[in-house]
């Protein structure tokens, strides 16, 4: 028998969870086992993800969740690797719990939790599944099932597992726009009919878990901002928990971060034209978008990758290591954005994804080579266009004469330097 409070285990932001937090001791006085659970949440085994239906276990679960979030907010920042680590761990935990509960016959409990976050309808039954008057062809129905089974690597199915893989629900795709925004779902991967996305229970767990994961990130951000606003140091207990979670980050992430702080590889800033230097120095409110997205992004990507040998349509055609984008091209753009007044991403955080969009990776903040080609790799505008669109950035020097594109300036200056014996 599951008590009403058990819903908090599936939704740590539910009223049931808030009540538990409201009655909890301060974090400094938290029992050691809860502190340990907070740290270990990022590496729970499937068995450990399951919470027993008694009040004590439910309380420990909720308090450890909040301790984990506040700990991370105390030692890192929104969108940090730590935040991503706990957000992903929360997603995996919630998803497994839904899967497990459904398998144990607790479909109603699962659906009660889901319906609080996602508006959904059940497909009309009959000879064929139907939604909004449209029949879902029988073949498509089973193909959707098989796709999901394949995605989860399930070859043999039993009667307890199979129902989770049958298309059964319809959700308005606009109701899951938040997941599209965070790239937790992709429109082209949804089966859409008349505005309805046709989903299996398995999809629902996935979407629902991702909703909770996104809300976890938002919660960390709100705690971080609260800490920054108060000006006070976070409590020692939180810092300790955050520090321990941080130490669990995979080593390669630390390496990547360090690498990202290194000076840009083969880009030669001494050959940059005046407009690019002005954009790199940060600009005022009226020209930020243009300077960062339309000038720096194409300039640095084309200057660094220097595509040759074929038409430049995809970054992946010219590089085989995404770190060139992540660690050499993106950092100076992001730093310039920070130097803008006001900082570009402070009021327009969505523009981070726009940078990679303009490099051809689609709307993402975490590009991979496989994403290359999802959007167009925008070219550097000509000087005349820059003059028209952002005249304040165009302060030509002598070398600009007879040059029509800032990239020409860069390549030409570099080449002249090499020819003069200065090295490439």
């Amino acid at each position: 028998m599951f008590p009403p409070e058990y819903l908090a285990v599936l939704d740590p932001f539910a009223d049931e969870a808030k009540k538990i937090v409201g009655a909890a001791p301060p974090f400094d006085a938290m029992p050691q086992e809860i502190v340990e659970r907070a740290v270990n949440r990022v590496k729970l085994s499937s068995k450990e993800m399951v919470v027993q239906p008694d009040l004590e276990s439910i309380q420990a679960e909720i308090l450890s969740f909040y301790l984990m979030c506040q700990g991370v907010a105390s030692v890192s920042f929104p969108y940090s690797h730590e935040t991503r680590l706990i957000s992903n761990a929360t997603r995996d935990t919630i998803r497994y719990r839904m899967y497990d509960l459904f398998k144990r016959g607790q479909e109603d409990l699962c659906m009660k939790a889901v319906r609080r976050s996602i508006k959904l309808v059940e497909l009309e039954d009959g000879d064929r599944a139907k939604i909004g008057g449209t029949n879902i062809p029988r073949e498509d129905f089973y193909k959707l099932r098989d796709q999901k089974l394949e995605e989860d690597g399930i070859e043999t199915v039993d009667d307890r597992v199979l129902p989770q893989y049958l298309p059964k629900y319809g959700v308005r795709w606009t109701d899951i726009a938040l997941l599209l925004r965070y790239r937790r779902a992709e429109l082209t991967k949804l089966y859409l009919v008349g505005g309805w996305a046709i989903l299996t229970a398995r999809d629902l767990w996935d979407f629902y878990a991702n909703f909770i994961s996104v809300r976890t990130e938002e919660y960390v951000q709100s705690v971080y901002e609260r800490i920054a606003e108060s000006g006070a140091q976070p409590s020692k207990a939180l810092v300790e928990v955050g520090g321990r979670i941080s130490s669990l980050l995979p080593k390669e992430l630390e390496f990547r971060e360090k690498f990202a702080r290194m000076p840009a590889g083969r880009l030669r800033p001494e050959f940059f034209p005046p407009c690019v230097n002005m954009a790199l120095a940060g600009v005022g409110a009226g020209s930020r978008n243009y300077a960062i997205i339309m000038i720096l992004t194409p300039f640095l990507s084309y200057a660094r990758i220097a595509p040759s040998g074929r038409v430049a349509t995809r970054v992946a055609d010219f590089i085989d290591d995404i770190s060139i984008v992540r660690d050499e091209i993106a950092p100076p753009i992001f730093e310039a954005a920070e130097r803008c007044n006001p900082p570009f991403f402070k009021d327009q955080p969505q523009e981070k994804a726009s940078i990679f969009y303009h490099m051809g990776f689609g709307m993402t903040t975490d590009p991979t080579l496989a994403d290359s080609g999802r959007s167009k790799w925008y070219r550097m505008p000509n000087c005349s266009k820059i003059q028209m669109s952002a005249s304040t950035l165009c302060k030509p020097d002598e070398f600009c004469r007879n040059i029509k594109n800032p990239l020409t300036y860069y390549f030409r200056k570099r080449s002249e330097h090499t020819r003069a014996g200065g090295g490439g």
Binding site: A177, L187, T188, Q350, G362, G373
Partner: protein, 319 residues
Amino acid sequence: MEMREATPEERKSFYTEEWNKREIPNFILHTLSLREFGFDLDGTGPSHRYNQFTTVEQLEDFMRNRAPYSAFTSVALYERPSAREGWLKAELVLDIDAKDLPLKTCGCSPGSVCERCIDGARKVAMEFAETLRGDLGLRDVNFVYSGRGFHVRVNDEAVMELEQTERGQIVEYLTGSVIPTDITMAFGYSKVFRERVARTFEALDEGQLLKVKGLRKSLVHRLMAEKARALEAFRTGRFEELSSFKDMGPKTFRQLVEFLRRVNSEFTDGKVTIDTKRILRLPSSLHSGVSMKCMFVRDIERFKLEDAVPKFIREGERP
């Protein structure tokens, strides 16, 4: 069809004699005071920005007195449009510019347009609208002839608050620029992708196909000779049929599909769609660069370019 720049006198005569505020579509009229207006007053670019009109009569006075070279209005609604502050929401727009269509069969030089290019853009706009309505369940889908192509402007509440990432995903869906996991489903993106790929393949000529990396000349000849069979395979999702063409190995096939996908993505400028603060030509205004009216299109299937020709051009053509 004559497409030439309008003189200042012609602009003046257009705005005093022909322009009618009733030609501004309701989706703009009803939100007029919440939109930013921008103008290009002399053909040097839309630098006269941050304008707000609280009534259509104020706009009318401006248009008649200034006879702008071009007039634009924001896709976004703002609390304070004259400061471009307090963003409330924005239409979902798709810009299909006839001059930028990736495959032209009319022989137009790059950057120029003819009636065939414009009709090509019209068909693309219709395809997008069908998917917006059929797959995405949107209802308030409007068409505007921009003077050199079409704008599809969606005003359903459900999409107006979407941010850039979601809008970018809509572009991917509509254009068919992502290769789906399953190509054979009757509905959904699988069907959209098949249709777009087939449309693109149909428009390709031998020269364009020869540019696809890895496609041998002999294979290109065969694909062209048996285009109907290849097209049918694309349309039905029976891609295995294509492997029966000699020299069409799995790698070559992947390169062909990748090429088609890439061309698909160029049928609209995604940059316009993801820009939630964009200004677009005001329907009813004059596109002075080509002397055409930018106009709201009630029935896209029956759109006639002649309807967009201003009086000063029509009268000039008379013997």
